[in-house]
Subunit: 332 residues, 2 copies
């Protein structure tokens, strides 16, 4: 399957990105991967559509990097070390060379940052259609050491990397719904929205201790509920323990209603993990050393659903847009 | 990333297809694959867009199977035995349950036929967009035994599986441009167009002898030229040796101009392979046993480009739409 000039340009721009020997410099549609003995291969696939997941005037290099990083975040949530990816691109041929060059440049930057290679893919014409992008990413993980959202155990402690809510408030800044925080704060928030920081090193470093894991893309509350449902457990989270950056604290001080948004807004790309209570100190130490802090925020219990506790240990009711006082089982 | 009701339906329909243990019944976005020791993993990705690669009123089960089979054909051209696939689906939410059920049913049928499993994937909303489908397929091949389009060697014999041109004429029947061949012939031709028969068993059976290989999706002439270019060789093909089915012969007898179309029409999903002259008899025997015949149709030489020879060994000029008398180097 091939299209017009745009695809000749794409092929020319993409071939130098395919330095993995299995990619054969894109001579083939496919690629051949040799997993080192004893290693499993983790695979994940994410799609992005123009107008839904990115806007036509978003910088092309950031569109490329955000898609790639969303996939790397999925790999991180499996404890896998990324090695390469396949790229699918359906376009109506309207993209000009500068846009495509920026797109390839974004991929090249992140390939270098994460030590990965383009492995192959497909470009097809989509007459009158929106630009649709698809990435399949591959990572290696020692046999049997990968983790997943259905692997949390009763009695596990729940912890989260980094900080929650920066990206959600960044989106509000970008759309003009949030302002007056000062240029530096607003820039940092927007940048967390535009360019996720997938917790690849954290996932790899925590391999020995993590049981269940999920990356937070839909929002902390939604993804904690996904973790609980997949593992057939109840999860209790303490609102006051959820780690917030100084920027987010600053925004919430000015408008306390923003706190809900931090828990439901999504695009955090942090890791939500569960651990045996015996391993918590070890995990906190490992995370501290890796430069991305880990914060304990809750516990897994027998039962089902997600419960949020306030500063007095009282349950809060979870709603679509946040929470209020009272309990709700399996709320998301 | 998730959408509305359509995606709830899709999830419900797809989960039973994910029987591979690494897929964890789609609990996760990704999957974990353990390649048996000494095996390489072959990967390939193909996309299909509504209105370009299939029509809105094409039967949904055939849309699913054609996409899956196009990917299996890529794996066959690497000598890989398929094991599973990831499915990406970008839709504007207009698809009704019966269409989605038929789509899932098509996948289920081919999963059984080829012994593969759904491993995971992504479904996203594409507001106002066309239905865009993406499959990443995985196959296993003994370490170092995969082949590719850049692996033909000087002096190799060129051979092709099955018959050429049935699908191209099937498309003409379907669009009404070709008729009067009788119901049985027309039905067989259309069926070759609608439902490719990827040569998975041939690819696996011929592993020990094949050097270079490509699957024929763009047309015999175009893909032979791709093989020549990727391997930095010249390829000579004898027009009279190209295997045609009785149905295609019947159509060409009525209209000799259709012969060009058989060589350029595409969608054959046969394998074009190169072999050492010493291995030809062995390869023909293996193919005969597998039920899909192999026909020797040409040779690889030092140089570049594709040459087509007529019944007298005289070169024919290759054009976009076929060939005429005279030579053209690197014609496609």
């Amino acid at each position: 399957m091939s299209g017009g000039d745009e695809f000749t340009i794409i092929r020319g721009l993409m071939a130098p990105l395919a330095h993995h020997p299995g990619a054969r410099r894109l001579a083939d549609d496919g690629a051949v991967l040799s997993a080192p003995s004893g290693m499993d291969l983790a695979v994940t696939k994410d799609m992005m559509v123009e107008g839904v997941h990115f806007l036509p005037d978003d910088p092309a290099d950031l569109v490329a990097r955000k898609l790639l990083r969303a996939n790397l975040s999925d790999l991180a949530a499996m404890g896998a070390e990324p090695c390469g990816y396949l790229l699918g691109l359906a376009s109506d041929g309207r993209r000009q060379r500068p846009w495509l060059e920026d797109f390839a440049h974004g991929l090249a930057r992140d390939q270098e940052e994460y030590g990965i290679s383009l492995l192959g893919g497909d470009t097809v014409a989509s007459e009158g259609g929106l630009l649709t992008l698809s990435i399949t990413a591959f990572g290696e993980v020692p046999g049997g050491m990968s983790f997943a959202r259905d692997m949390a155990r009763e009695g596990d402690v729940v912890a989260v990397t980094g900080t929650i809510g920066d990206a959600a408030l960044g989106l509000l800044v970008r759309t003009g719904a949030l302002h007056g925080l000062g240029n530096a704060v607003e820039t940092r928030l927007v940048s967390r929205y535009r360019l996720p920081q997938p917790r690849v090193s954290s996932g790899v470093a925590l391999r020995r201790v993590v049981h269940g894991a999920i990356d937070i893309s839909d929002g902390l509350l939604a993804d904690a509920a996904h973790l609980a449902t997949a593992s057939r457990l109840a999860i209790e989270l303490a609102v006051e323990a959820i780690p917030l950056s100084e920027d987010v604290r600053c925004a919430i001080r000015r408008d306390p209603a923003l706190r809900d948004r931090t828990l439901t807004g999504g695009d955090d790309y942090e890791l939500l993990v569960t651990l045996s209570p015996d391993d918590v100190v070890c995990a906190l130490a490992i995370a501290g050393q890796s430069g991305v802090p880990l914060a304990v925020i809750g516990r897994c219990h027998r039962g089902s659903g997600l419960t949020l506790l306030d500063g007095q240990g009282e349950p809060l009711e979870i709603t679509d847009t946040g929470w209020r006082h009272s309990v709700l089982a399996d709320g998301c």
